[in-house]
Symmetry: D2
Subunit: 377 residues, 4 copies
């Protein structure tokens, strides 16, 4: 693991998610750019001292230098955005498969370069867009793909948060500090952090692609350097349209990411606050409540479910599904077999590339006086 030292948020989540299914064992780390912090974190996590490194370069070099069956196989990179590209590139080029936190890179240019690296090295990359790991999100995608709703017409996706309602970046909140800092986050704040999640969820569930967008991007809290709020009108492939909302100043909200997709014959609705439920709304019929563990919910949901219906699966299970599917894919690779489609169902370089394009396009549209901005990669 690169990053994720004491006090970091997402690193701990990665560790929990990786541990859940017993497919990964944490054996080495460069947990911080501060060697002391890295060492202390490694100790706390019970790692052998000789596998706690002072830098990501050291980690990659030394692990590569170890015998093949004694080195790490997958490297998780859980640093702030500006520190994604370099370690990911080095890791891939050094023969490691990579799990990378989102958004994929600092800029679209980096994303394109990373895509080239992936193509050249043939290594695997998993991008942790957690929300697509929920069983009921997968059920929604499968149902849409099967044509149950008919041709898709409208998609609404939203991600309201309230945690940046005040100026938090001046104080002890490490996460607030880097996420609102253009030097570490990139050109976008809210749009990069949660807008990309919403965007990914939209394209994943609907099976459509954004083709044009019209964005209202705001920095609401005084003194903040990046956007903390935005709303985007969308044109989608297949003559559909949609709305994407992402805000970090909806005071009083937690993380209720939510998606609704409507086709000619019906719609589906999912929201994280009730993550084990998918509402299936067919025209002129009673709404159906699909539940995690329901035998009717399709093969993708079943593959990503651990407990019987009625026992809620949560955020860590969704996150773990990404790790598990990635592991299953790598195992199939090792076995020289094609990975089954359910295993391959994790976000990867293509989703990362589109996510970075979303960031750049949406910020550009925010600055534009024209209504529509073409979505270009």
């Amino acid at each position: 693991m690169i990053g994720g030292g004491t006090g970091a948020f997402i690193g701990a989540v990665h560790r929990l998610a990786a541990a859940l299914d017993g497919q990964y064992e944490l054996v080495a780390g460069a947990f911080s750019s501060n060697p002391d912090t890295s060492r202390a974190s490694g100790q706390l996590l019970g790692l052998a001292p000789d596998r706690v490194y002072e830098s990501y370069q050291e980690l990659i070099e030394q692990e590569k230098a170890r015998p093949e069956n004694e080195r790490v196989q997958v490297i998780s990179i859980v640093t702030p955005n500006h520190l994604h590209f370099a370690p990911a590139k080095l890791a891939l080029e050094s023969g490691f498969d990579v799990v990378l936190d989102k958004p994929m890179t600092f800029s679209l240019a980096e994303a394109k370069e990373l895509a080239a690296v992936v193509a050249t090295t043939g290594r695997r990359l998993c991008l942790t867009h957690t929300y697509t790991g929920y069983p009921m999100v997968k059920a929604a995608r499968q149902l849409v793909a099967a044509g149950t709703l008919g041709t898709i017409r409208k998609v609404y996706v939203e991600y309201p948060q309230g945690w940046l309602s005040k100026f938090e970046e001046g104080g002890a909140n490490k996460q607030a500090a880097w996420r609102t800092d253009p030097a570490r986050s990139g050109v976008a704040g809210a749009m990069g952090d949660i807008g990309t999640h919403a965007f990914n969820l939209l394209e994943y569930v609907s099976g459509l692609q954004v083709t044009k967008l019209c964005a209202d991007i705001n920095t609401v809290v005084e003194g903040r350097q990046l956007d903390d709020d935005g709303a985007v009108l969308l044109r989608l492939s297949g003559h559909a349209s949609g709305v994407l909302v992402a805000t970090q100043v909806a005071a009083g909200e937690e993380n209720n990411v939510r998606i609704r997709v409507y086709g000619e014959k019906g719609g589906v609705e999912w929201q994280q606050v009730d993550a084990n439920t998918l509402q299936v709304k067919m025209l002129d019929r009673p709404v159906e409540i699909w539940r995690t563990g329901g035998a009717y919910a399709g093969s993708y949901a079943a593959h990503n479910t651990r407990t019987p219906a009625g026992h809620p699966e949560g955020y860590l299970e969704a996150f773990a599904n990404l790790y598990r599917n990635f592991a299953l894919t790598l195992q199939a690779d090792l076995a020289g077999q094609p990975a089954p489609p359910e295993a391959l169902d994790y976000p990867s370089i293509e989703e990362g590339l589109r996510g970075m394009a979303f960031i750049e396009n949406v910020i550009a549209s925010g600055h534009s006086i024209a209504k529509w901005t073409e979505f270009t990669v």
Copy 2:
């Protein structure tokens, strides 16, 4: 009553709402432009045959000709949009107070003329934007106005329906027929029918005014003549912003109109599907569930509540609140006393004017290639 003959939808709703509190008695009507239908409807409603008229002109003239204490006092106009202006104008000018279904008129020009008539005649006009009649919507407005949320930053309002997901206007559905017909509805379909409700709700609860808008207006169903779908980015007075969604092609949805308002310190959320609940979400505190009938819910909610907490009040009660408050205002007028603020709290000519301006501005924006269109009245 003008309009609302057998088979019409909203006329029956007006009658139920007016009857609930015993403040109105239906004594005369011109229920249809077809004299036979009007007569039959009047008979069904138990009216004296001599007070069932063949046209609105006849109704207004003949009622005016009756002795003052034997004539109607208030005239409800529940016809399609293109038949609002003329009877409303005539009624006002003949000395009657008027209840008028929304949107107020066929065009903004008519709305301005009607506003002049109201100003000249000094008569009262009540516009039936039902959703602002719900006790918990009133609680939300009062709470926002009291500054509980701090300065308002974001407003999201949406009105998703699915009833026009197919081409319904060719068949027996009278309502579908006129609402999608530009000759009877005006320049807008969904935006006129439900977009104006959403717009009114937004300005009512937030206390803010739309200043600019950027609309994506669509006609999704093939063959339809007016818009059946739209999404609008909004700039609001006081540096706030928002999003308005109104669609009639969200297949599987009923009428779940919903509003969320966020300020510096917290937010509120209301939706019709759970109409007796207002979620009050203060930053870093548990969400509070305010309920119709709760002693804490403010004077406006209390004034508009009929039953003790826990007994749900519905759409007809909300509608009846408009009628009742209008009656209380008229009674105060008759008594030569100032109406109390709770009684005056019904949508009137000003809201109607802004609603018609919304329709024209939003359609203009939909045609514009510029991002922002100024909201002008």
Copy 3:
């Protein structure tokens, strides 16, 4: 109307419910045993002074003395329990049809005598068990009766309130005073007031009858004279069993009466807080959300629904359904035609009789040391 003077709760509800559909006009009343209060109430309601009476006897006698087409047709009795029997008996014997608030009488003995009066006079009696007036409760009954759930096995019904959590009867709360007073309420407090509602709902929806019961009856608040809490195990006809809970000391609860019925193949769930929804839970299938106004919801729901799906109908509409169906039945009687089954679907003397038997049986069981008490009428 007998009872329901200024300050009373349920009288106002009866008036609103009766007014809603325009089937009733309030023309006469004896609103209080205090003549001044009666007179003042009548004036406030806009009645002709000569039809505001000083006692129920006077009302019944004088109205009977009026010409047939100028007298009241239906008498609503909305007094406390101890004042139900005498006016109801006199009204029926004087040729009037009667609407009576629940529980039907002060005692089972009175109930039996009233049943005899109904049988002898051939007049109609409507008992206002409101909750069976909700469209989705009717849908549940129809669905159960159609065998959709298979043989019924379990019924859970509960009515939790919190309004008597403190000793309220000492102060200004008129309703608390009489409902906790054995001289006015009868042998039961909570069991009479809300237990009978739960009991009626259970037998109505399930189509089964209670055959044995085992009750835990408590007076929780110190100083209170009647029960304010109870839970009852039930044996039902057809080898089913159930649980009934009614409490007035569930501090923080409103009136969330709720019923769940399970058969071999599935279950249904309804609760007043979400009154327009019926959950239909078939084994191994997604739960279906049936909604008021849904075309699939059956003829009884449709008959008792006023607004299109998505516009919530509330407590007053449910109450009004009792009044309306009673009116439709009386109109059929007047027309010399059989009333249609949907019109006849209102609680009547039989339900009142069983409700009074429930009260006496459940209190007897509460005092018994034997587990099971036979349910006898």
Copy 4:
């Protein structure tokens, strides 16, 4: 691990829960009484072949024979009920700490003997009553213990399931087979499997003890050997009372275990379907929605929460909390320090003893014709 071979349900859950926090590593197992199954399961789980044993006796003996720092420290027993006592006793007596699935033993007599073994050996035992591991259940307990609700008056707990609505035990459903078999489950079916969960939850949250009970115990499905349904009236310490419902024939239900506790001043409500929410209902105030991760939710909730508010934690996290707290307690033991109260907050021998007493008392009450049966241990 003892039990939990391929095809078993709860063994896999134990493994996931133990893995989540990285506090446990599975190194040895006797996964089945069938040596082949045990071996195959061990291989699938990646264990060293020499630590996959053919019987629990072999496991305990051979592990004990290993050097202290190379042997297992904790033994998880996840077998059917009749195979809890013997391995647990042997493990404790051999110096191992034990995690044991519920109900604790086959009979109350065994439970008492096991309690004596725990007392004699001084080893630790953790009983996996999962539902008390949820953060919001812990918040409820802490809030009740702090007196926020005043003296507790009423407790309602229910556990409705539908999975045994048909005769499932004849077929391939291993779990159905043993849970309905008196030779493997003990004297109770539903009451043992889920009634004990409900009972434990009730005593945990309320802080009260059951003193008397009155049970209606049923075997609904024809041919079944044990109860599959029951409802119980309860007397609790401190003059409180309650109702416990547990059924496996509520067709269409999943596992929506739910508890409501009411005191003089307010109530709390929690249900598994919305596991990250605790409703706090104070008299005459808006209901508060407490959420996992909320800063206001108390120290016990905080200690048992892994992710920020808004990211749902599920059943596995609740289960893992038991394992983690047990590990923290054992670590404190090893360090020779007193375990902090939050770590000690896992179900143990005392809860197991009371749970087994519940089973025997509730079945006895089911057979009794007297209303009340004393709760004896």
